[in-house]
Amino acid sequence: MVESEDYEEYIKNLDEFAKSALVETFNIGASRAADALSEMTGLTVDITVPEIEITSIKAVPEKVGEDVKVAVYIQLSGGFEGHAFFFLDFEDALRIFDLMMGQEPGTTTEFDDMVASAVMEMGNILISAFANALSEFLGTEINQTPPDIAIDFTPAILDFALADVGQHCDYTILLQTEMRIEGVKFKEHFTIIPHPASMKKVVETLLGGFV
């Protein structure tokens, strides 16, 4: 049996204050991730988290769309449990690869092993920087698995992470992110699906000073 604390009501009833506190935390993580990527590539990188959305698991396929995307996945455990994904469109993966290689975007036309390993490394750097920021903020250690990559329908990629959350409740948070490299906007999604208990912990740490 899985322990049965009621996260359902908690997640559904997160108020605007708690939500904006979460957005703020994820923005700190995102900006650190952008710095790390910028250091690696020598390019100007900006990543922001404009909003988070609380959504029913049922509606996730409809929200994320059926498109085939490239995804890098890392599992987070220890002080913060969750599933971190970095999504890219095929075309965007190729364009980013060109930027990283100092080539004119459009030079690379095929998603080969070289592109795959560059995307995986990029996802790894982004997620690690994000996790480090979160770890400092929460004052706790966060463990990470090595990265893995998949090319598939977006909901299929998220499925098992939703199954993990779905053991506890029917709702999850979806994080929207925007990334710009050298001023070029990319439709990527850097998504964290936190374990409900970990999300609660972040909110409590954030609001700890005010309660």
Partner: protein, 163 residues
């Protein structure tokens, strides 16, 4: 164009004689279709987790294979379908990432096992399956024929198969 009912995660739908019931992007989830050829009553369940009792029967019953199947069969009967005469097809149960090794998250395999066990329990024949592996699947049940069209990503390309 026939009408298409899209089934979300932990959701199901039934219909009769015409239209399409689809579900998008099954990863570790399973999609179960049940179709009675005689009455042309059919339905589709998209389940996220194997057994309700294991997770304390929490939340939406359609997110579990066992309780979801119960709901699907009940609604098929309501439309005049007979589950004992019906045929089932099973899709999904993939394991998307090799870096996921914890038993708790090897959910795809368990979803498939429980789906087969439960179908057997109701005496519903499993006539086709495309399960396991690393890739996701999207399925469309055609209520006029009972045929299931499946889309799958292989080597970065989408391929189609009819079951």
């Amino acid at each position: 164009m026939p009408t298409e009912i899209k089934v979300g995660i932990g959701d199901y739908a039934v219909g009769k004689k015409e239209g399409i019931i689809s579900t998008y992007g099954l990863g570790s989830c399973v999609g179960i279709t049940i179709y009675d050829r005689l009455t042309k009553v059919g339905g589709l369940l998209h389940a996220l987790l194997p057994e309700a009792s294991y997770y304390g029967n929490k939340g939406n019953p359609a997110k579990y294979v066992d309780t979801g199947l119960q709901l699907l069969i009940r609604d098929i009967q309501k439309l005049g379908g007979n589950p004992r005469r019906a045929e089932a097809k099973l899709f999904g149960g993939a394991h998307m990432f090799t870096n996921v090794t914890s038993e708790k998250l090897m959910i795809g395999k368990r979803n498939v096992e429980v789906a087969k066990r439960e179908l057997k329990k109701y005496g519903i024949r499993l006539v086709a399956e495309d399960t396991g592996g690393k890739g996701g699947r999207t399925i469309y049940l055609d209520l006029s024929t009972g045929k299931v069209r499946m889309r799958k990503v292989s080597g970065g390309k989408v391929i189609e198969k009819i079951y």
